[in-house]
Amino acid sequence: MMAYILRRIGYGLLVLIGVNLITFWLFFTVNTPDDIARIQLGGKRVTADAISKWKAERGYDKPLVYNAQATGGKKFTETIYYEKSAAMFVLDFGQSDDGRDIWYEIRTRAGPSLAIAIPTFIIGLGVNISFALLLALFRGTRFDFSSQIFLIVMMSISTLFFIIGGQFVFSKIWRLVPVSGFDGIFDGWRFIALPVLIGVTTSIGSSTRLYRTIFIEEVGRDYVRTARAKGLSELTVMFKHVLKNGMIPVLTGVVVVIPVLFMGSLLFESFFGIPGLGSYTIEAIQSQDFGIVRSMVFIGTVLYVLGLILTDISYTLVDPRVRLE
């Protein structure tokens, strides 16, 4: 078991190195720091002096991967790759374009992101599993059929409409909650309620359909037939047998997103004015702050790889039949 986990972590590191190289290639070789400086400083009428000043201020004036002018080990350390890209492995993200420490920002913004993401995740999971189980119980009936149509319609509506419509109805017409804003994780429930509600609503369509398929697949298995043959009622079969076994694929399927919850949601945070990592990312994209975008790509990948490892471990914990080799 331990050896297996260690090997998975090693593979995860390998993936991280790959991602690191891809982002480096995207951000520094497809377009050179000169191009980026020109865009940042505005258009064609930028002097060469201004560009080299911009690069020097941000430490982009060094060679990419190999510094022939330096001596010894500095041939490799005094390069853009070492200082900007490899440094991320020790959580050194440098500064954003407005001069703030990126790692500090990430730490302070993770809280608000989680304040939205965790309730949305837990409530959404509960609602979707219950709904799916209900549909599996009433499979093949009119209720099942009309619910399926309802779910497909829900899937077909863009998240943007849910958010805009929700803000319009709940905040503007009914005046139940503020349109946007944030006020601490525990005090500001009024600010959190609407994004969570809409977040759960948007997830219903696809998740419930997926879980319904899983439960119905479970209903067709042999142990269910045995349970019925013993004379158990349909309710007992569904809640005691199908639910328990169906939870295995459902839970192992969602483990992978748990670490990624830290990243927050781009759409919800920016629409509702939550000062989390999602809005941080979207602001960085819109102001073309490449330092922040690179850091978020790295953090996001670390969390996703962590999620993959957790998924593998959760398989063994939930399902004793699975042995990891």
Binding site: D35, G140, S156, V297
Partner: protein
Amino acid sequence: MSITPVLLLTDALLWLLVLAVAAYAWNVRRHEHLLAPWVKVRQNPIAMACATVLAAYALVGLADSLHFRSSTAAAPASATAAPAGRQYSVEVKSLLDVLIAQAFGPMAGKSEKTYSEPLATHSFAKETIEAPGGVQAREYPRLAVGGAHLKDPADRAGDIAWRALAGLAAGCGLWLVLGLLLCVWVGRGFTRLPHTWRAIWHNTTPAPWRPVLITLLVICLLAGVALVLGSRYHLLGTDKVGQDVLGLSLKSIRTGLVMGTLTTMVMLPFAVLAGLTAGYLKGWVDDLIVYIYTTLSSIPGVLLIAAAILMTTVYIDAHPDLFPTTLQRADFRLLALCVILGITSWTGLCRLLRGEALKLRELDYIVAAKAFGVGRLRVITRHMLPNVMHLITITAVMDFSAMVLTEAVLSYVGVGVDPTTNSFGTMINAARLEISREPVVWWLLASAFFFMLSLVLAANLFADVVQEAFDPRRVVKRARLRLLGGRA
């Protein structure tokens, strides 16, 4: 007036795709086992109705994919600018633009100053108007085009009602013509026309044509009303700079279709080849391909797209000589978006196909082919590919609607299509802040909502039927369910 065609990159790929689909259809028709699942799709009334809606959208989108530049009427031909002696306007138009201009007559080419409500005669915002006596007053000015034919704006309601009725009549007429054509086609000739009509009406034809006719009726009625009312009024209002929203919505359809189809088409060959090769060859090739797709899928999708699109804009800005017109710049960005979305979304299909290939390679017919000395490439293309086609079809159909929805979100984030490109995303983005106005500017969002929902819903329902028809595993499961549960 002469024209010169302009072939945009996405146009070329879109028409190539049309050719590919036609070739696929021709191939399917010749093979009974390939035809079987499609026959099942054809027998489903929901799928037929959805296919009709999708076909209508495809017609609009393809009409918008024939671009050309027309020669300018006044030609102060300077020898350097036009060596051929003829000067073409810088503005690239599409067939759809011309059709809209023809159909909406006076509405085309002109626009209002700012927002106006659907079917309005007056502007949405007050303006200072100078009365004949020299007195200035704040009033809602008459629109330049919308309802301009009315002498007295009070006649509006009656005029609209008449025009709506005329539109419905025109729609009915159009429907009758189309219905007749359909009858002739279904009945293979004119001879038994009443009989065919009755068969369709009582739904006794092999394929359910009645839902198609009903869907066609709805589309024809909507189109008729839109044409008759839309030639004198702004049927869906105008946007912030006074453009007709109906026209904007129609122009947005192409972007949605391009995103939905080209993204899949771009990634498909690569995903299929990589997935099958990895599963069939195993060994270090497998390790490498698995590593590549794990790495790519580990990067948060939106961030990878954002990074790549930022890089594309930098590239476009750094090479202005490659893209002479704004439309070509916008088109390149659209294509780049498709490619990048393809890169982020091929991993799912690749993983699926690798798993399938791992199973297939142990089967007898593959082992036999190998024993006969059939080469690796031939085994993959000739023996494995046909056996995973159902997975590819399902993925291609299911991805379509997801991509249309993704486009809207990406446009909001600011890494979607070029701001000058018409798309549902840019429409929503432009309208989202206006919802907090008083009174509310609702028609932009409502139009985008209607057009997007009908497209995506039709695609999703169609995909659902296709999935059911193509997935043999699901068929097996259904049969078992029926045996055991007695309920399903």
